[in-house]
């Protein structure tokens, strides 16, 4: 960081509290921080300035900053593009620089912070902490990709009764894989905007592993439901599994891409996952309550060998049906 210790500033009044002049780009990213200990500092594009700005919209000698009677004052030096307040509506010729307040000049911004200003706590480098650091390992992306392609292929195979050759299978995987890439790209972009690093490989690994987990959830839950005779719970368990997987994936993406507190990230990802999975389900649930002349059921059938519980007798099965009669009577009376 450059300092102005040797800049021999000209004092024009009582000096202000020492601080730092920050030069930011138009999106608010800090480009330079220069210690200010009083006196006059000239800012512009020319090399004879105290602070040199590489912004073509800034004049060679654009503005000066000096202390006047204990206040820090910014004076525009009749620049071409002027100096403006942050809303860009008021052109400033001479203005007091308050702590933390920003002004625009050219396509740049300037802000003064006293030297005792507080700073935010250090960001957690999640890529190097806990299990998350595994996501950044060089072997993780190839492993996740292989698992993901295997899961998608198995899903296609299990869902089809046709003989699927490698070519057909590959063509069916193009869109799902593209979707995963776009998803990872979105998070990588967000990562770059917020944390100035893309971590594309990490986000791609997260997305691929989430797809694998969703596949396992889609296969294991019905299998368990069938094995234990819990058909009626399978739908809900699948949804809960999907919410948990999506929530965990979103949380992991956020850990890399954003700087919020862990609890807030966990809460946000949980809510977002519930909304993303739950909203379509809510529509489906509402639709289920609509009248239909067809019974709405999803037959749950798996190979006989996977069944773990005994069946009821015919008599017992129809005794249980008395509950249906009560439900029907309630329905009709309503």
């Amino acid at each position: 960081m450059a300092t102005l210790n040797e800049a021999a500033p000209q004092t024009t009044g009582t000096d202000v509290k020492p601080g730092v002049i920050e030069i930011l780009n138009r999106s608010g990213q800090v480009l330079q921080r220069i210690h200010y200990h009083g006196g006059e500092v000239r800012v512009g594009r020319a090399y004879d300035n105290d602070i040199i700005i590489g912004d073509p919209y800034v004049c060679p000698h654009h503005l000066t900053i000096r202390s006047e009677q204990g206040r820090l004052v910014l004076v525009d030096l009749d620049s071409v593009n002027g100096t403006w307040n942050m809303k860009g509506r008021v052109r400033l010729n001479k203005v007091q620089l308050c702590e933390g307040e920003r002004v625009q000049f050219g396509h740049s911004q300037l802000r003064f912070r006293p030297i005792d200003s507080s700073v935010v706590p250090a960001w957690r480098d999640t890529a190097r902490l806990g299990l998350f650091h595994l996501l950044g390992k060089p072997w993780m992306l190839p492993l996740a990709t292989v698992l993901c392609i295997t899961a998608l292929s198995l899903e296609k195979l299990l869902d089809s009764s046709k003989a699927l050759g490698p070519g057909v299978l590959a063509s069916q995987l193009v869109y799902p894989l593209l979707g995963i890439m776009v998803w990872a790209g979105f998070w990588s972009l967000l990562n770059r905007l917020i944390a100035h690093r893309g971590y594309f490989n990490v986000h791609l690994a997260i997305a691929a592993l989430a797809v694998v987990a969703l596949f396992v959830n889609a296969q294991a839950v019905p299998l368990m439901g069938f094995a234990l005779g819990w058909s009626s719970l399978v739908g809900w368990l699948k949804i809960l599994g999907q919410i948990a997987i999506l929530g965990l994936a979103l949380f992991t993406h956020m850990q890399f891409a954003t700087h919020g507190r862990t609890r807030a990230q966990a809460f946000g990802s949980g809510v977002l996952a519930t909304l993303l999975i739950g909203a379509p389900m809510l529509g489906e649930l509402l639709q289920r309550n609509e009248f239909s002349s067809l019974p709405k059921l999803d037959p749950l059938l798996k190979p006989p060998v996977t069944r773990l519980v005994n069946g009821a007798s015919v008599e017992d099965f129809f005794l249980r049906a008395e509950n249906l009669r009560e439900e029907l009577e309630k329905d009709v009376s309503e």
């Binding site: 195979l157 299990l158 869902d159 089809s160 009764s161 046709k162 003989a163 005779g229 058909s231 009626s232 309550n289 009248f291 239909s292 002349s293 067809l294 019974p295 709405k296 059921l297 999803d298 037959p299 749950l300 059938l301 798996k302 190979p303 006989p304 060998v305 069944r307 519980v309 005994n310 069946g311 009821a312 007798s313 015919v314 008599e315 099965f317 129809f318 249980r320 049906a321 509950n323 249906l324 009669r325 439900e327 029907l328 009577e329 329905d331 009709v332």
Partner: protein, 424 residues
């Protein structure tokens, strides 16, 4: 002399035939039957009260007490289902018209008894004996709202494979003639026009049920509630009779590979079968489908008194167990066996499922039921089963019943399930 060109010879022959052969002879009997009985037939109109216009038409005839008119239940079903929305009128030959009151219905045999607003004609006599097969009969009615029409045809006996007794009349009964009489040459009613299968295959309600209707029911118009109660009672009686007929003996079974499953339960249940290969999907099918040949009309959206079931033996040579059972899941249970029904007439289905260990054949069973909203005590049921004994072969069955009491519905399904077995 120039000879006639050869290509004109067929045309010339046709011309000669038209000149020499007289037109199809008009039956004197038919003209006489029409002239004699035409004033005993009326057109029945169901009028939408709001539009004050006819929403449906049929035919009817004077029978029983003075001013009583018999027609089909399905002609005036809307009066029972939505009396606030519809009323009925008659339109007699000669232009006389007036309002009708609904006295009674026999939903099972598709008959209704109405009363005019005072307009009377002598009742048609009801035949006491069925005619011999081949007897010439005349059907009268108002087809397509184009005026009273007489159709000459032949009596072909009682339907042997019908759940609900019907007479087979060979003649063209068309829409609008429903409820009209079919007469013998004495002018006695042999049957009531009710339906057609096309190509002159038509069906009549036997006149004995008209006799029952006019002799049993009262004189005054009845309320919607009592009509619905009456219809419900008739349907409950009817389903009890069906069940008694079906399960008097042991349930017959058909064999599909190693599986035994219920076969045609009675003569009125017609069974068909076929097999097919779906090479693209690596699946083979053997289908055995049965259904009762008739149903009971309750409204445009609801028919009842139905028994349908099918067994489908599905097998594969090349699919693994997980893929095979996934295909069974995707096929669903009810491709062609759905029942009618709208929200006003029936509730939504309520379902349960589970494993049932039946004799040597473990099954995955799904059971769904719904109830009738206006006809208390009547239910429709839907039972689906999939066998769980083999990784590459499964028997999927579906049984659909419409219009049964709760106890009989369950009894029917139990008897059905108990008939399953498997022998490797």
């Amino acid at each position: 002399m120039n000879s006639i060109p050869q290509r004109l010879i067929p045309i010339a022959c046709l011309f000669l035939l038209a000149v020499v052969v007289p037109a199809w002879p008009q039956s004197a009997d038919t003209a006489e039957v029409y002239a004699t009985w035409r004033d005993r037939i009326v057109q029945i109109q169901v009028i939408d009260r709001q539009a004050d216009s006819k929403a449906g038409i049929g035919s009817g005839f004077f029978a029983g007490q003075p001013g009583w008119i018999v027609t089909n239940y399905h002609v005036i079903a809307e009066l029972v289902n939505e009396p606030g929305r519809y009323r009925s009128r008659y339109l007699a030959e000669g232009g006389k018209e007036g309002d009708l009151q609904l006295l009674a219905v026999d939903a099972v045999h598709d008959l209704a008894l109405l009363k005019t607003d005072g307009f009377e004609r002598k009742a048609l006599a009801l035949a006491t004996n069925g005619p011999p097969k081949g007897t010439r009969l005349w059907s009268l009615g108002y087809p397509f709202d184009i005026g009273l029409t007489i159709v000459e045809g032949t009596y072909n006996g009682r339907l042997e494979k019908s759940l609900y007794e019907k007479l087979h009349f060979t003649g063209s009964i068309n829409p609008g003639m429903s409820g009209g009489p079919t007469l013998n040459d004495n002018g006695e009613v042999v049957g009531i026009n009710v339906s057609t299968a096309g190509n002159q295959v038509s069906f009549l309600v036997p006149v004995q049920y008209v006799e029952q209707l006019v002799s049993v029911y009262g004189l005054d118009a009845v309320s919607e509630e009592s009509l619905n109660l009456s219809v419900a009672d008739q349907l409950l009686d009817n389903q009890q009779q069906i069940l008694d007929r079906l399960f008097a003996d042991a349930v017959p079974v058909t064999r599909l590979n190693g599986y035994s499953a219920p076969a045609g339960l009675a003569s009125f249940i017609n069974c068909w079968g076929n097999s097919s290969e779906d090479e693209e999907n690596n699946l083979s099918f053997v289908l055995y489908r049965c259904q009762s040949n008739d149903d009971i009309y309750l409204s445009t959206s609801l028919k009842t008194g139905i028994i349908r079931y099918q067994h489908e033996l599905i097998s594969t040579d090349s699919l693994g167990a997980m893929r095979f059972y996934r295909q069974l899941e995707k096929r669903g249970y009810y491709p062609r066996l759905r029942l009618d029904g709208d929200e006003q007439s029936v509730s939504n289905y309520k379902c349960q499922d589970g494993f049932v260990d039946q004799a040597t054949l473990p099954l995955k069973v799904t059971y769904c039921v719904r109830s009738y909203r206006k006809l208390a005590g009547l239910y429709d049921g839907f039972l689906s089963t999939t066998s769980l004994v083999d990784n590459r072969e499964a028997l999927q069955s579906t049984l659909v019943l419409a219009g049964f009491s709760w106890d009989n519905l369950n009894l029917f399904f139990k008897r059905f399930l108990e008939a399953y077995s498997w022998q490797p």
